[in-house]
Symmetry: D2
Subunit: 466 residues, 4 copies
């Protein structure tokens, strides 16, 4: 519907007034036109009203929103609750078709465009963030864990005899479970320290040993991780990519919240240049500030990404694509880049604050240069019990997201035992606390955190002394 | 927040007026109290305002909505777009934890309640629909196809040596792909005819043969289907359950849109009574009239259902649970049951209309008594080409959901060839058209369909005659 | 903005799919086109989505919603709260200009169209309801009372020496106050009874006496009322119009909730045919089911209506026009007419129920044939105190809108004393209860009312007996 | 409804998680409690979610939103359109009762609180802005013009023999029309210049002359204006107040957009201290950034303000109160004060920019020290025609709000002739342009304005030269 082409009854408004007002609409029309023709992020974010207008017009293209729909099938996207319909803007058909998550639905033209457009804008964003060579990506309406599983299942279809995944240890449950859920067997390669001060690194030697000792046809892939809790560093994905290429084994990277950091995105770009990197996966909520529930599968070759989309069985929710599309249009390039810069500054600020804290209270920050997001504060002077207590004190005071890692906390996940669970290694020295600076964190939160950390610390010290 | 406990300044309103108004709120409070204490569907649907109030108060329990949140983690459910925040009511944390889709999240109390409450109401609804013995169920934020895959992966974890799925053929892609995606090998058992008039049935004999001939440890499960396109009947899940029990092989039922039909739900109940039925899966969109994107995993034993939840790696979107919760509260028991009854009446009406049509135009309805949702109209007199054309004519005239199945349309899916794809059998006689009466279909749509069918038919006949 | 004219990137959706979807939008476009060209009510109500789309596109035509607005004035319709902006769809400029409520605003083209379009649709509705000769009308964003004042002030500008309003008594405060607020002096002409059974009528003789005895230049107008509490009848506006014409005195009719009744609208039409009727005023909330706050000024000559619009000083809220526009588009002709019919049936039903009640409890309904909306039930057997008590019992039981009129309840309003306030006459016989059947009342409310009335009645009788 | 008092089923969420989440709600509850008990502006603005929660709970107190409402009256606030209901949060009863705009409605407890609370917060804001002695105020759902009329009608009720309003000329139509609409006769007292450089001032001498020469009983009031277009200054309301007191004549001040300027609010406070100031009226849209449609009547004595409320006949829209309430809660004290400060800075910025412009293009700014909002730029070198053209050029370039005042533009309004309409005086020297810096203006708008002004100026100069 377009007011421009209409003849307004003269009694409604004088023609010269109307003319000026219609002209003022043109810049909006150009913005929409460019979006649909070029499929690129706008430089400047759009106002909510314009975003909603586009969304509503897209939704109107789905059959369930046609005025004279006649649906004789088992799934016609009838939405019975007005509230549900409103919050979904009338989108009901989901995305993809039974054979392929990227296929167009004839009776859901709007949903199809919604999905493809979101994917295109995310691709643009990835390049903006420094992954210049990325070729293809798509949003999967499953969080990172299940999306990793999907990627592994896609590889499994192509390498049916493979059963092992060479996995650089990171003590995050869903990442590990993504392997076992796919019916595969993880070969866990613990991270190692180079020295006391620099955090944990990928054990490249062990990787090479395993690649040499196991039948290649039985290895599904190497699985590495970029973004992680300090003091673990980003895996050495460049050298892992070189190994991948050398042994001709697929390489999957869990880039969970790495898209927000240009340090990590450049690692991905360089890894691809240096060797082999088949697929990298990132969360939509952690990088794009939308609700949990989506992930992005990306790669440097169309075919490998498409194969993942074709592995997905059935249609899927369009809710995640919708949240991403709205958010990206609302931020624009400049908006996102500002968030990225702000995060970097905030990280430096937290580091400085924690260093001051460490000096004052006689503890230590571990400088893991390959981790631009999460910091670890060693709690050498606190016994395990007190360290644990510190964690729960912080939580009851409204601080979420920090973690306390303590010694001798072993754990069995899906039959595999992890010594010192949480530490990504087998010989944890002493307890530590991690804190992360993610996109969207406010400076005032850091100040409040440091203040509460001091209070809790002092309380614990007081009690310990008695 | 509660106005009841507040002391209003006397200048705002006279006390006696206020007292009466506050008393009138009590029935709402009782409804909410009962919901949260008993976790049962209300008899009568709630007004939208009350639903939104409850949803908003639940959302306020999540940490990201606390007034003084301090988030130092990599995922704090920051939602940057106001539009996205509004449409998600502020829910950002998703559901589940990395280890288990049913686990509570300490920093997302509202989301946790949202998920558990939705699951409880769906359980209540299932019992209401006649599956009295169902013990446990939960909403998965993936559509039916991927959810079937998840169930198979869950069984695979328990039966690591198994690799085959005995599958009663149904020509619906995502159902079939759910097997290959899980890295498993389907053993396809074509449906058979008993006579010309009664549609297609499960080939029980072939199932038994396979169960006898294949090593049990290599069989993951039997997979059958209830709701399907006519003239295929609901699988004989009662006898399949008996076979399952006899051979001690898991039995998974794809009940995609079967929850809406009491005929099909009673099949499930009886199958469980007679033999073994481990898991049955249904779509939320097709049965509950919400947007595509969710499925319900249910079972007659807590442990088997829980195992599926534990197989899911990572957290997941709460969007589907939210849509289901809003819809169920909005409908109430009576509302849903009315929809179910109406659907049944509509089905009878379509059947009658099509029978009249068949008589008039000299064709035939195939009476598949075990299919209470979808009807097949044989197009004996139309050559394949014309039949195909009829399908596209209907679609361009705004009719969606009908399917034309024609002879000699073979298809290869994931390396498996299907003769006469769409027909669920290997010796399709002649083309036919299917039409389904789903929950939510309006009577007026049936009339419009019949009218347009006649027009198209006449057009085709005219051209054929020339 | 219009998707039709855009070239979608081919990767977004296949062209043939898109083409069908865009074609399906045409019927909506035609509806909008017809609305803006013909300014008539649609036959069938529009879906909410389409209404919102049109509203949003109109709002986009106001300067404050331009993307590059530069406002250097004292009023630029900046709306600072997102919530306020959203609920007003971005409309901020109000309607009218300082000189005239019907004038177009150059910097608020959308608001101007909104106002004019609402007025046009209301005019169409009035004709539909039987006031065929109505020439002009407009929505005033003030309720009926102040709008009556505005009409009187408009007449006063034209008849500066006039100071009296000949007013057929109706005991409704805001109607009476509309005269004193305008700085005018009411001459109160009590209604009279013809016989015990037929209610209260206009005292035409007294009107004529006054018209003969007072200097014409000092009489501003005759003011009469159509819709009223039973057992008062609609004023005899036909004969008052004849007197008006004869004495060349303006005639203003308070048609507060009369637009919903075709009986009353036909009185208006006939009055105009028979004599003089300058302006008639009706409430938007009571007739169109929108929130309180608007009224409609209408007349049979453009000039008299325009003069009222020109009397209004300054701009005014567009909120009422917006509510009316949304409501009328949502109902359509058929929707409104159905409500009108239903009301009529409901009235007959209430009458029947009350007659049965009257028979059972030995009291009496007063048959005022000239009142199609409100009924009076005589409470002969209840002493004043008990009658009053009955009223408050009903209210505390959730019944609103009924009134109890008792004897000897005199009242002074703005210095004028009314004997038996509430009864429209000076010699009230006995207490009575009134109940009205308005547009939108549900049949179930009538049943609940009768049931509660019986309970209360029995309770009172019980106590009285003791 | 309150989650705190409920017993959640244990399966919904672990008790310890719930406890922490419920505790986090307390600060919100305290905020609401304080608001309703103290009726003061919060220091810090509330988040939208909390505002909506309170609004919804208030709306639930109105009878039309009761679950078991039985409405037998002619006005039961039935809102038939879901869209209309949603945008009004279910408020339908309006505010006030037929006798008094400040009276409580028994069947609209929520609306009553809404109105009274908004009034209380506005009172608090006025004091915050420096009018320490203000006693009472209320929001009228009519814009400034009609509200001035209402105030005059209220005075007229108290002084029935009065007919003249002594009015310090300001060339703004609705202000002048407010007098004639009330049926009163304006006595126009032109503003005067003290010298060329300082703008226009109140002609106090002429006021005193009139007060001495006209029978006091025939003078209704003095009417003065604070906020106005430059180079007119704020009226000398302090000395007018002294005259008012001396002659015992009411004094009404049109403070249209003066609440946003602490300079003007202090004039009001001092005028009251020095003499007599009965009522002052200000616009809600211009001072509080809500849509057009409301005004605030305020005074230093309860009785005079109450009398205005009692003069209003009938109920009125609650829409304006709702917009104001939402906006004030959203801003909080600090938010509003920041806007006020920012406006002051912006004004200084515009002045500086225009002075630079004036120097460059050889024209002049008139320094009216008593006008803190609007500036005048003399266009001495431009002939009338070119000046007019400049105005329209600016408008077509998206600049709204500036005015061009030219010589010899006489106008007749309601029979009164104004020489040099727009200039507030009878001997305009040369054309000038006015520009105002209102609350909410962005600095970037000033820059854009100056840039476009230069372009237009140069264009005109170029053409003039040829």
């Amino acid at each position: 519907m377009n007011l421009n082409n209409l003849k307004f009854h003269q009694k409604l408004v004088p023609e010269n007034y109307l003319k000026l007002a219609l002209e003022a609409q043109k810049c909006k029309e150009i913005q929409v036109k460019e979006l649909l023709e070029k499929r690129k992020l706008p430089d400047i974010g759009w106002p909510d009203e314009l975003i909603e207008q586009v969304i509503q017009q897209l939704a109107a293209l789905d059959n369930n929103n046609f005025e004279h729909k006649i649906g004789l099938g088992e799934r016609e996207a009838r939405i019975i609750s007005k509230l549900v319909n409103r919050r979904n803007y009338g989108f009901g058909h989901g995305i993809g078709r039974s054979g392929d998550l990227l296929e167009a639905q004839p009776k859901a033209v709007g949903s199809t465009i919604l999905a493809q457009l979101s994917n295109a804008l995310v691709l643009d964003l990835m390049r903006l963030q420094g992954i210049k060579s990325v070729k293809c990506c798509f949003i999967v309406p499953m969080a990172t864990g299940m999306t990793l599983t999907l990627c592994l299942l896609s590889l499994k279809k192509q390498r049916p005899t493979a059963k092992y995944v060479l996995w650089s240890r990171i003590d995050q449950k869903s990442c590990f479970k993504s392997i076992t859920t796919a019916g595969l067997i993880p070969i866990i390669i613990d991270t190692i320290r180079r020295n006391e001060q620099s955090g944990l690194f990928t054990d490249l030697k062990k990787f090479e040993e395993k690649l040499l000792s196991i039948n290649h046809e039985e290895i599904l892939c190497i699985m590495s991780t970029t973004s992680c809790f300090g003091p673990r560093n980003c895996d050495d994905i460049i050298n892992l990519a070189i190994l991948s290429a050398k042994f001709n084994i697929p390489h999957v990277v869990n880039n969970a919240y790495g898209l927000q950091s240009t340090y990590l995105t450049h690692q991905l770009e360089q890894a691809n240049n240096a060797g082999r990197l088949d697929l990298f996966i990132q969360s939509t909520d952690k990088n794009l500030m939308v609700p949990v529930g989506g992930a992005i599968v990306a790669g440097f070759q169309e075919s490998s990404v498409h194969h993942v989309a074709q592995t997905y069985s059935g249609r899927a929710s369009s809710s995640q694509s919708l949240d991403v599309l709205i958010t990206l249009l609302s931020l624009g390039k400049i908006g996102y880049q500002n968030l990225v810069k702000e995060r970097k500054t905030n990280f430096a600020y937290l580091q400085k604050q924690l260093e001051e804290f460490a000096e004052k209270y006689n503890c230590r920050i571990i400088k893991a240069k390959g981790n631009p997001i999460s910091l670890a504060l060693e709690l050498k002077r606190l016994p395990t019990e007190e360290a644990t207590k510190l964690g729960s004190m912080l939580f009851t005071r409204g601080i979420s997201g920090t973690r306390i890692v303590t010694k001798a906390c072993n754990k069995i996940v899906d039959g595999f035992e992890f010594i010192d669970w949480g530490s990504h290694e087998n010989n944890l020295d002493c307890a530590y606390l991690t804190a992360a600076v993610s996109i969207g964190l406010q400076l005032s939160e850091i100040d409040a955190f440091i203040q509460k950390l001091q209070q809790c610390w002092q309380d614990i010290e007081k009690k310990t002394r008695k």
